[in-house]
Symmetry: C2
Subunit: 336 residues, 2 copies
């Protein structure tokens, strides 16, 4: 049955060696599970997003069609709905929330899918950005369970430059002394604004700003856009939650999956899923070159460049052309 839910995981052992107590994973489903349970799509959340924030691709006639598929949107740990710094009891609350790896997310999601829904086969795993990271990890961790993956605008292992970008984002937030190492009473507003402004430069391409494409989003001036889109995007978020997810992103590495000895080539080479891997032509931190390199290590994968000036945000469902490109590719993959 469709709807929102929270699945209790009990104590979740983490890759770091710590155990997350009373862990839970939130989700929302769309559509109906078919009798043979063959129509399952997992759709994974990027940073700073909850299941309700990424529904642009879901709907009748869209790539993720509830009339055909049973779509489960899975909230990543740290996003405020699944176990997060903001909703976990002491002593694992706030800045003391344990470090989450992408593999921990997949372990939690796997339990929900298998124990909660009794599903043993997944037709497609897809996601944007950190959602793409999770899609790669699903295919590496559960090669016989995942039939297809469509990660877009994300890599299977965080690159060094991407880690430096994240350092800057984190430093901007934590420079606000109101942050108090995570024990803030009120959100560190100045730090969140700074994080948003740093993100603004990275999120879209140079040409996007030059051509003032933010006008298509209803903003008349650059400053309005930075305040009205970027600052607003993070204004309602919890700082510790964001920092937790930034750390998860920084550590992302499918080659750290047991059995691959840190070899990215071997980890990606073990994927059995059919893969369509997409990059935005102008993405400044998940570059086409880096994503292509991942795709080339996946047997029989298809690499596609989204021809866009929208930078990383090409994958965010903000403009019709990019969304259509991504959905067309997912449709092709699903019908193969």
């Amino acid at each position: 049955m469709p709807g929102e839910g929270v699945f209790e995981l009990g104590d979740l052992p983490l890759k770091s060696g710590a155990t997350l107590r009373n862990a839970k994973i939130a989700y929302k489903t769309h559509g109906h599970l078919s009798g043979d349970k063959s129509n399952v799509i997992l759709y994974l959340t990027p940073i700073a997003a909850q299941h309700g924030d990424i529904e642009w691709m879901i709907g009748p006639g869209r790539a993720l069609d509830p009339e055909r598929n049973f779509i489960i949107v899975l909230d990543q740990l740290g996003n405020g709905l699944s176990s997060s710094p903001s909703n976990t009891a002491p002593p694992q609350d706030r800045g003391r929330f344990p470090t989450i790896n992408i593999q921990d997310n997949i372990a939690a999601q796997y339990r929900l899918i298998t124990e909660g829904f009794g599903i043993s086969q997944v037709a497609l795993v897809t996601g944007y950005s950190m959602g793409a990271q999770q899609a790669f990890q699903w295919a590496v961790s559960h090669p016989d369970m995942v039939e297809r993956i469509a990660p877009f605008c994300g890599t299977a292992k965080t690159t060094p430059h991407n880690a430096v970008f994240l350092m800057g984002v984190r430093a901007a937030l934590t420079a606000d002394s109101a942050w108090l190492n995570g024990d803030y009473k009120n959100q560190p507003i100045e730090g969140m604004r700074a994080l948003a402004r740093v993100y603004a430069g990275w999120g879209f391409s140079q040409a996007f700003y030059k051509q003032e494409l933010y006008r298509q989003m209803g903003f008349a001036r650059l400053e309005d856009f930075v305040a009205g889109f970027w600052e607003r995007r993070y204004a309602g978020r919890d700082a510790n939650n964001l920092l937790s997810m930034l750390r998860t992103w920084e550590l992302n590495d499918v080659s750290a999956t047991p059995g691959f000895d840190g070899s990215l080539e071997r980890a990606l080479g073990a994927i059995k899923a059919k893969a369509t891997v997409m990059a935005s032509e102008t993405d400044l931190y998940f570059t086409p070159a880096d994503i292509q390199s991942d795709a080339e290590h996946i047997p029989g994968s298809r690499f596609r460049i989204i021809p866009s000036l929208w930078g990383h945000l090409a994958g965010a469902g903000l403009n019709r052309a990019d969304s259509r490109f991504i959905e067309d590719e997912i449709n092709s993959l699903l019908s193969s």
Copy 2:
């Protein structure tokens, strides 16, 4: 005679309409002025640099050769040696220091050159990054005085994306509540560190980090490099000075020169100097496309791409290949 000096300008009227009281401009010369005063090179400072920080290109056998040329390294306003927030008396001290435009820098430099040195002809104006901005402006403001320009890794007008990048840098610094709107007692250390970390992602290219080229600078690990190069680079600087120069950079626009009605094409088209304009192939904020566009509007200019993975810092004199490329181009230009 060679040496360091400070030239007193008295009251300097600024483009903003304000007047900078008791303005001064610092400089350092290398070499000797020839009898006919035909061997003058102006070398201009980028952000967060003083005349002693950019001497890599100066020396016997280097592009700026004191045995042949009289080289005047000019400190930009705000850099801590020329009039700056940190060295100006109340009521124009600290956060109350007036807004400086690139054109104000050129006005101050022009007075030093003409009144101080009695020079009426300049063989070459060159500079990196904000130094390039000043070189463009020299050629626009004084077309009959400047024979050649060699701006590298900078544009004649700050692009919108570049302005967004600067917003992020500024927000990271000012998120530190120790900044106190410029009335800090001690430097806002956390904010300066955040600024440095944000800069780290922009300064070099994605490939620079992937290939760990920082090893060529003696850093074994990424974190060492970010702390030992980037944080150290800004650690000794004054926050208000940096913010002043960031604002100057943001406002940079040769088309705002009187007489051009905001037309970048016309302003650049009025340049009479021979110009060699260089961009780094992998510069993330002064992109090759933007710099090429500037060059194409300058009659008879030559546009050259520095084939480098060092991003914007290709122009900082940090590696032999890039430095040689730049110096070879300047040598060619000087002998033409």
